[in-house]
Symmetry: C2
């Protein structure tokens, strides 16, 4: 019996290191599939359709939702964001794990969906709010109004930390990354994620009978 | 709020490497407490009361069971074995994790007890039955009758593999040991095993309010 891929959901307020952790995890395990979100917001300079996001018109996005092609979707700051279902189900069927870099709304919807039992969810907390704000400001690309908006969203995001299976406090990026790898490796050792063991144990039993 | 210690239960047929893995894990993490079992069997040469086992008379053992001092107990090959409750509850209250090297009967009893939600259970499978038998014979201390008895017990033990949270196939001792460490580390990152995070997040919220 083929192993079914799991869904690794990573959430955190922006500035807590989630995107860096995601990128490092994708580099560490080339078999992982990253779930590229669809969005109705306009591309920023350097962003590429299908890489950072699938950029879609509002009409096209709403059609996908209507046709059940979105695993989850939500509106944030007036734009829609969502995770297309097709690539995720394909990866699962191939036994490949999928990484989601999404917020608490997306996490909640996938956890409460039919795929909930395949979810492993990890919340990354910043060491402090001062540190979070300084990382946001360090990007030096956003206006005060945007930073205020993001800090408010961060507070809302953090209020959902207790809905996650695992929590990592990102005091140090290397330690946080090791924690994330540890979680993924351990989850792959769970009995219910190793269906091929049923055959293996049947083989052991045949060996006992043949003694 | 103080972290509550977890109960790491390691089971396997004898010869699959469980005792070696236990010893290495105890060396790796000096904060772990090993649950020394009580037994009514007689000590073998070199065994010391309180180290390998608590050696007790049948009367003393039965009194402990009657007084609820055993977390679990079972009869194997005419002798009683059991895990004394006191030291485990003390370690848990101190936030220390306890390692149990016990069989499926003990594992089942602890999992079904009031402490069930604190259990992390790991089953170690041998790569093959031929390998298992060769390791048993390698000890060169047991008669044919004893080996036959152990092989029958191994078959019974393996039949319970699917009751465990995690399964490790011990093809290679170093890999199996890393898997075991990974499981313990990941379980410590589970949100419900980090109750101190509630205070930490309250601190973050105070920081938000003070901005």
């Amino acid at each position: 019996m083929l192993r079914r891929g799991l869904l690794l959901i990573l959430s955190s307020p922006s500035g807590a290191g989630k995107s860096t952790l995601s990128r490092r995890l994708m580099d560490w395990d080339r078999s992982l599939r990253f779930s590229v979100s669809a969005t109705t917001r306009r591309p920023r300079p350097g962003e590429q359709d299908g890489r950072e996001y699938y950029f879609r018109s509002r009409d096209a996005f709403e059609a996908m939702v209507r046709e059940g092609q979105m695993l989850e979707h939500a509106e944030v700051f007036g734009n829609f964001y969502g995770s297309p279902r097709g690539p995720v189900e394909k990866a699962m069927a191939e036994g490949r794990d999928t990484l989601f870099d999404i917020d608490w709304q997306g996490g909640q919807q996938i956890r409460n969906s039919a795929l909930g039992r395949d979810v492993v969810s990890v919340f990354v907390l910043p060491p402090s709010i001062a540190e979070l704000e300084s990382r946001l400001r360090g990007r030096a690309q956003d206006s005060e109004a945007v930073i205020a908006e993001r800090m408010a969203k961060s507070e809302a995001e953090i209020s959902h930390w207790a809905e996650y299976d695992y929590v990592i406090v990102n005091n140090d990026l290397d330690t946080a990354f090791n924690d994330l790898v540890t979680i993924l490796q351990a989850e792959r050792l769970r009995r219910d994620r190793q269906p091929q063991l049923a055959d293996f144990v049947r083989g052991l039993n045949r060996e006992f009978s043949a003694r």
